[in-house]
């Protein structure tokens, strides 16, 4: 079959530690080294051809402000941001998955609640700031709302698609075994939609971090996004880049965590990727 003819690499069969030393791990470390090396080089030579690197904080300057950040109660900011993002993400997961399953499975529910959601979907998080201030009792809940907006729609849409793409053959299998609608739903529709829901969660987690700076414009004295925004207002550039990288790093690691967790829930899944 296909697996035999392709040079196939089974994923996550080795520990992350060992991954560092195999060709794949080396390639990945190399890509990071190249990225920061090139950036440092461009800053050092004050590269200025259409894109100007002359005034850009170099990786070493960013490293300096990172040291400063970590020597001055960093967990306060990290914790504040993580709580906002994770709360927004958690609420978005619960609401997005349950609404998505209902919309995907029942035509009437789709007709009743999907149209307004489609109109709200393209609105960027930043546009919600004034309304978030008006609608929510505290700035904290407003900020959680903004991260929720980021995570909600990808989770909703992926869940709807997953449920809609239920295999007719498998539904027939269930019916021939005497399954009532509830069994079809619980044992066939929902597990069948799981891979799609999982990718919605992965994208949603990334988007929640994506909206963090926007959320923390709203108010607050703590948070990575707040710090980034604050440094911009005071024209202090190295901490901005540090904030950006920190958000990237935390976003990437929480996305990785979501990916691994959803994989644990689907031991039956085969994921294979062709290696070069």
């Amino acid at each position: 079959m296909i697996d035999r003819s392709l040079n196939v690499l089974q994923r996550h069969e080795r520990s992350p530690f060992l991954l560092m030393f195999n060709p794949k791990g080396i390639r990945r470390v190399l890509s990071l080294v190249l990225f920061f090396g090139l950036w440092q080089l461009l800053c050092t030579i004050k590269f200025n051809l259409f894109i100007n690197f002359a005034f850009l904080p170099s990786p070493l300057e960013v490293l300096g402000s990172t040291f400063q950040f970590f020597s001055n109660n960093p967990m306060l900011h990290i914790w504040a941001s993580a709580v906002r993002v994770l709360s927004g993400f958690a609420i978005a997961s619960v609401v997005g998955i349950s609404l998505g399953i209902l919309i995907g499975w029942f035509q009437q529910i789709e007709d009743l609640i999907f149209p307004p959601l489609e109109i709200l979907r393209p609105i960027p998080a930043v546009a919600w700031i004034p309304l978030a201030i008006l609608m929510f009792p505290s700035s904290e809940s407003g900020m959680i709302y903004i991260t929720f907006i980021g995570a909600f729609f990808p989770i909703l849409i992926s869940t709807i698609r997953g449920v809609e793409n239920t295999d007719l053959l498998l539904l027939r299998v269930g019916q021939c075994l005497g399954a009532k609608p509830w069994h079809l739903f619980k044992d066939i529709v929902v597990p069948g939609a799981m891979p799609s829901i999982a990718s919605g969660l992965v994208i949603g987690m990334g988007n929640a971090w994506f909206c963090l700076v926007t959320a923390e414009i709203l108010a607050g004295r703590y948070g990575i996004g707040y710090l980034t925004w604050e440094s911009y207002v005071t024209s202090n550039y190295p901490p901005i880049v540090m904030g950006m990288l920190l958000i990237g790093l935390m976003g990437a690691s929480s996305t990785y965590a979501v990916d691994q967790l959803t994989r644990l829930l689907m031991p039956w899944r085969v994921t294979k990727k062709q290696s070069l």
């Binding site: 021939c176 075994l177 689907m266």
Partner: protein, 272 residues
């Protein structure tokens, strides 16, 4: 009080299949396409019947009507005096495509029907393990479908249907996707299980030798619209095995069926 004899006589009564004047037509682009034209067919409990015909003759449609997936345009299907109105566990189905639920292990797949019916866990376990043993899948009971070969998956699909002791087992070209050797092994395995359980079987195929090898009765189907052209009784002695293919009786029968089907196949080729 019911005696053992009563129970067994009740059990042997299970599996009457009657199809009366069954017609099916579909609306396609404003035209009415007749797929099946007044099909009549009767089976006694424990009979093994094959529906044989060229592709597109509507043999799978008959199976889908019996299963309750498709509503007949006119006529009806009656199983054990009950008119079919929708899908149900009294008619087991083995599909051509691999159809195990990917998120359930072999054991859980076979167990699914019993679990739905609320059969107690210990009873379920005993029954499922017994069936898994019969088809040599006990070792693989904790494997997921993607870890099984095609033949194993179809074996699991067959016992998944049979474990619910259906009145009739419907099989839609279940071995078509397998390689020739596996296919023959599966036919023999199917016959050996069937000889123990004596479930009524309706088996759809386009393979003449397969039909002759397996069945008690072959219904040769005609083309456009689908109809039953001939009913052939197969009296080859059982148990049957690979050597049965070489017996003069087998060869005569196959040739007879081939002549019958040839004309229909030519018709279908001309139309395609």
């Amino acid at each position: 009080m019911t005696t053992l004899a009563d129970i067994s006589s009740v059990q042997t009564l299970k599996g009457f299949v009657e199809i009366e004047n069954l017609s099916v037509s579909f609306q396609r682009k404003g035209h009415t396409v007749q797929v099946l034209d007044s099909i009549n067919l009767q089976l006694r409990p424990g009979e093994f019947a094959c529906l044989l015909g060229p592709s597109g003759c509507g043999k799978s449609t008959i199976l889908n009507v019996i299963a309750g997936f498709i509503k007949p345009t006119s006529g009806c299907v009656v199983i054990d005096k009950q008119q079919v109105s929708g899908p149900g566990a009294d008619r087991g189905f083995v599909f051509q495509q691999y159809s195990l639920l990917p998120w359930k292990t072999t054991f859980e797949n076979v167990e699914f029907g019993l679990k739905i019916r609320g059969v107690p866990k210990s009873e379920r376990q005993e029954l499922v393990n017994d069936y898994l043993n019969r088809v040599g899948l006990y070792k693989h009971r904790h494997s997921y479908p993607h870890q099984l070969s095609g033949g194993m998956q179809q074996r699991a699909s067959i016992i998944r249907a049979l474990v619910n002791s259906p009145s009739v087992l419907l099989m839609d070209e279940p071995f078509a996707a397998l390689d020739a050797q596996t296919r023959q092994m599966m036919r023999e395995l199917l016959l050996s299980i069937w000889s123990h359980l004596k479930t009524t079987v309706i088996f759809v195929t386009h393979d003449i030798e397969e039909a002759v090898f397996l069945s008690d009765k072959i219904f040769v189907m005609g083309f456009n619209p689908g109809n039953i052209k001939a009913k052939i009784d197969v009296s080859l002695e059982r148990p049957r095995h690979t050597d049965s293919f070489l017996s003069p009786e087998f060869i005569t029968l196959s040739r007879q069926v081939f002549e019958l089907i040839r004309e229909e196949t030519l018709k279908s080729m001309a139309l395609n």
